[in-house]
Amino acid sequence: MKYQAPTSIEEAVALLSSDPGARVFAGATDLIPQFQGGRPEPSMLVDLKGVPQTGVLECQNGYWRVGAAVPAARLTSHRELVSAFPGLVEGTSLIGSDQIQGRATLGGNLCNASPAADSVPPLVALGATAVIVGAAGRRSVPVSEIVIGPGATSLHHAEFITEFRIPVPARGCSDAYERFIPRTEMDIAVVGAAARIRLDDQGRCRDATVVLGAVAPTVAEVSAAAEILRGRQLAEAPNCKAFWEELGEAAVASCNPIDDKRGTVQFRRRVAAVLARRTVATAARRAKEAI
């Protein structure tokens, strides 16, 4: 296995094109445990951290540019990013321990293609786009179209993600992420839920996106959420109103979970309903502050 550290997109693409067994990496927090578990090592490892575009973190022309290889610790300590996308930062901050936070990246979290990846539901809920480069040039793809199944992405060989672009939140718009794990730290989501809510000046819902993690082979959008929530008064505390029940039922209907040691199908469905309601309530509370 040969380690390569290119310092430009062109160099990285050339290296990847030269070797069908080459593989990109950023934090290696998924990759090395997979090698330890017996997965075959690639013939070439291409470290993306030296490619400047993968390290950007800035707001310009109406969207945030977040480099695919920026470590989680840099995202969670970036004040403006935290206030723009509290839910994305919540999801990111849940990835592993402080040690893992120093290395783990959004690009790796997405492209490892685990159904339980914590930063992916918020990225999808925010309508983030991935900028992909490769031998054929550059293309932009919604994050929701990158993962096609557990461990599989729509990226071609010699392609990689340089950065994510996330629209700056509109007035009255915010997000939230929550997951269920049986411990307080260091575990993988049994269910995760992200919500992005936009309120009008009276606190009524204008727009809503709810995305679930770990309940299907890829993240699952609760497609009925916007219809159920639009026009509802969300700035007040969630009570027993019928639409909250409806939202929970819509979340359950969006799940296609499996039974495993972390949770049964039935348990995952019930938790999905609870977390969908909770994240909507949290995102709405934050959105109210952003009116």
């Binding site: 296995m1 040969k2 380690y3 550290a5 934090g27 290696a28 927090t29 090395i32 445990p33 090698f35 330890q36 578990g37 090592e41 490892l45 470290d47 470590p71 610790a73 592993g96 321990s97 402080d98 040690q99 893992i100 120093g102 290395r103 307080t184 730290e185 260091m186």
Partner: protein
């Protein structure tokens, strides 16, 4: 297979070593540089025994490829004491009986140092989260947490003494 030549700074001293590209930083520290204070527990990022500080950032050295160390600065447990003077964390761990077999201790000390470097006045909860990536099979954690809190007090006192001196 040819090996890669790496130069970096370890505990303030420039060092160089040869490694295979598949080797981890943990293996380079232990097997190429003879710095065996950094331990291997799991090799998969779960136990924190291999914790080091890489350019100011706490990481698991078992999840870093050795060639990534080129041009970087690494702090390991061997650099924690200054000569005969133990670091306040080491003193607190000794006095607070924060270890038994000791295998986890270098990792806990490095993680705790990284925490206190960024946050000199942590709450108990912050300490518990700060060392959540470190596993100990012996102590039950409580004495470790108390010792980190105790060291934080000592370090603040040292700083005030330095300022008034």
């Amino acid at each position: 297979m040819s090996r890669t030549y790496v130069t970096c700074v370890v505990n303030g001293d420039p060092v160089d070593f040869l490694c295979h590209d598949y080797q981890t930083l943990l293996s380079a520290l232990r097997d190429e540089l003879g710095l065996t204070g950094t331990k291997e527990g799991c090799g998969t990022g779960d136990c924190g025994a291999c914790s080091v500080i890489l350019d100011g950032q706490l990481v698991c050295s078992c999840l870093v490829f050795a060639p990534e160390a080129e041009g970087r600065s690494i702090e390991t447990i061997e650099g924690m004491a200054e000569g005969q003077h133990l670091h306040p964390l080491q003193e607190s761990f000794l006095e607070g009986a924060a270890f038994q077999c000791g295998v986890c201790t270098p990792g806990f000390l490095i993680a705790a140092k990284a925490l206190l470097d960024h946050n000199p006045t942590p709450t108990e909860t912050e300490v518990r989260y700060g060392v959540a990536g470190n596993l100990c099979r012996c102590t039950g954690y409580d004495k470790i947490v108390r010792s980190v809190l105790d060291a934080a007090v000592r370090m603040r006192e040292q700083d005030t003494r330095k300022e008034t001196a």
